[in-house]
């Protein structure tokens, strides 16, 4: 299988290359207004990446994953706003905090499974906005947390200003453009890390646990440890997304992290293609296009029923393509490859990308 034909390489790396190229060109051709909205799809994709690791690759269902996004956002926001932490450090802290919170929430997962685990995560999702409201003195409650830093204005008076991610001196990019590139870079690193994990010893354990827990255990996999660790990692990724969201929005409200958003995240994973590394990115784009571009255009009567539309299209998609967009692309690739006449003398078939549906 080592001699890959050009088309195989194209199918394998084409989608990634295309997305990266679009990501690089987009900021140069899009208005700052739109860029400011589209760049928030990136944190969403990272959160979906985390959820996919948990649900798609490890088989643990979380219907409340946006709560971790919220924990990441508030952790980062509070550190910057109240304690003047530098942004990068605050993001790292948010990731660590979310890892720990994820491990704690993941602990019950050792005893309970499937639907019951879903219920626990549901409870977390429902509880989170209420917690934010309850600790109003710290979080600002319903009136919001404004992430500001003290700054001296032109008249020498210190005022609180919303934080901004500014391009370094000498780089001629708008805040939107610079942030977009920065976020894109973070996302690329996150996706590469997850890709590597999925194809490693740890990743095989995760998938083995998803498909056959007994087989995993008998082969020496510490099922409990891997499950809890995956929960933590998944939550850490959601927290990373949340922290990026917080830094861009510079204001946080509990109603931005309700159960509905958790479900949207789940939709992103399912639509993009569960257990596919690139799937969450595709899913986040799908959700982003729907929420930011299609929904605002809908007439009022229709926008009230958008959850219904989203739900129905989800059901429809699952009927047509249970593997999501990524699964559909893979089937297409497999079909094209099969219809091609074999190149050169008889060679064994079986390109990993077309024959390992749930690991690539």
């Amino acid at each position: 299988m080592t001699d890959r034909r050009p088309l195989d390489v194209l199918f394998r790396y084409g989608p990634v290359a295309l997305m990266v190229v679009v990501g690089l060109v987009l900021p140069l051709t899009t208005s700052d207004y739109w860029l400011g909205r589209i760049l928030l799809w990136i944190p969403l994709a990272i959160a979906a990446l985390g959820l996919n690791l948990l649900t798609g690759f490890n088989g643990q269902i979380s219907v409340g994953h946006f709560a971790f996004y919220g924990v990441g956002a508030y952790t980062c926001g509070l550190l910057v706003a109240k304690w003047d932490w530098p942004m990068g450090l605050a993001v790292l802290a948010a990731v660590v905090v979310c890892f720990v919170v994820g491990v704690v929430v993941g602990l019950p997962a050792l005893r309970i499974k499937g639907l019951y685990l879903a219920l626990v995560t549901l409870a977390v999702a429902v509880l989170f906005p209420d917690l934010v409201k309850h600790f109003e003195s710290v979080t600002g409650g319903s009136s919001g947390l404004y992430i500001t830093t003290p700054e001296m204005n032109s008249r020498g008076v210190v005022v609180e200003r919303s934080i901004q991610i500014l391009a370094p001196e000498g780089i001629d990019l708008s805040t939107e453009q610079w942030t977009f590139y920065l976020y894109l870079a973070v996302a690329i690193v996150a996706f590469i890390v997850v890709r590597n994990i999925v194809h490693s010893r740890v990743g095989r354990s995760m998938i083995a646990i998803r498909d056959n827990e007994v087989a995993a255990e008998v082969n020496g996999v510490n099922v409990a440890a891997v499950k809890v660790f995956t929960f933590g990692l998944s939550s850490a990724l959601a927290g990373l997304g949340g922290a990026m969201f917080a830094l861009w929005e510079a204001q946080l409200f509990p109603q931005s992290f309700t159960l509905g958003f958790s479900l949207v995240l789940l939709v992103a994973v399912v639509v993009g293609g569960p257990a596919s590394v690139l799937g969450p990115a595709l899913g986040a784009i799908f959700v982003g296009v729907f929420e930011d571009m299609i929904k605002p255009e809908l007439p009022d009567e229709l926008s009230a029923v958008t959850p219904l539309i989203l739900g129905l299209s989800l059901v429809g998609l699952m009927l047509v393509a249970p593997g999501g967009i990524a699964g559909m692309a893979r089937q297409l690739a497999a079909r094209v490859q099969r219809s091609r006449p074999p190149a050169g003398p008889a060679k064994p078939s079986g390109d990993p990308i077309s024959t390992q549906p749930s690991t690539t």
Partner: protein
């Protein structure tokens, strides 16, 4: 010397007594067959040794050490590997990756090395190379990159053997490896099991209904009924044991 020794093992499922004070020992480097009618408790014994079932009473010793003090995921690294009567493969992984799962207890590498690729790449390659060797040994190399789904039952059982070998076991427990095979394939499998025992210095505990193979390759046969041992000895001795003929062989042979 007995490599595996179980004493007075009892396992209950509600009212059902699956093992009722079973005593048996498997000698080093032997192929020991465990036979008995359906429901005799053979698979249950495997699950006790794998630590998947907790016995209500009794002892399990492996190479002198108390196995009941070992957690289920620690069994593989002690040197015990097994296959399953009803297959326990990972559907979402390719044949090669399934086999690589078997190396879990003999490899290192957690999250950090995995996410940074570079250091893990070499050990990944080593594991892949070893998995390919094992697949070749079992004539499965051409299937390495296929998904498991859709392969014939007998092939899947062989993939499980390959996976079990990856942990470099001392004791290999095979639960009905010949089911779903044609006559010719059963003969081949018998030869393979002997070769594996000789080449890899294994001890084999074999549960099998296929009497032809059992009698041909085993050094020792243990006969079970209703969760207890009713006879043991060489294949010839067991074949002629009146109690065995009445309980088991009489019905099928």
């Amino acid at each position: 010397m007995a490599l595996l020794e179980v004493g007075d093992i009892e396992v209950r499922f509600g009212g059902v007594v699956a093992l009722a004070g079973l005593d048996m020992a498997v000698q080093s480097h032997q192929i020991c067959a465990l036979i008995g009618p359906n429901g005799a408790g053979k698979t249950t014994l495997f699950n006790v040794v794998s630590r998947l079932y907790e016995p209500t009473r009794g002892r399990v010793h492996f190479d002198g050490a108390d196995l009941l003090a070992v957690r289920p995921h620690g069994i593989a690294s002690r040197g015990i590997a097994r296959t399953f009567q009803n297959l326990a493969l990972v559907q979402g992984l390719s044949v090669l990756d399934n086999v690589k799962v078997g190396a879990h207890c003999r490899t290192r590498g957690g999250f950090w090395s995995a996410s940074l690729v570079v250091p893990s790449l070499r050990s990944e390659r080593a594991v892949s190379a070893r998995a390919m060797e094992v697949l070749e040994r079992l004539s499965l190399a051409h299937l390495a990159h296929r998904p498991c789904a859709g392969l014939p039952y007998g092939t899947l059982k062989r993939i499980e053997i390959a996976r079990a070998l990856m942990s470099q076991p001392r004791l290999l427990m095979l639960d009905e490896p010949a089911s779903g095979l044609t006559h010719g394939e059963v003969d081949e499998l018998g030869g393979l099991i002997r070769r594996l025992r000789d080449d890899l210095d294994l001890t084999v505990l074999l549960v099998e209904h296929h009497m032809g193979m059992v009698m041909k390759i085993s050094d020792q046969v243990v006969v079970m009924e209703f969760g207890q041992k009713i006879a043991e000895g060489t294949p010839d001795a067991v074949r002629n044991d009146p109690q065995v003929i009445a309980a088991y062989l009489g019905a099928s042979a």
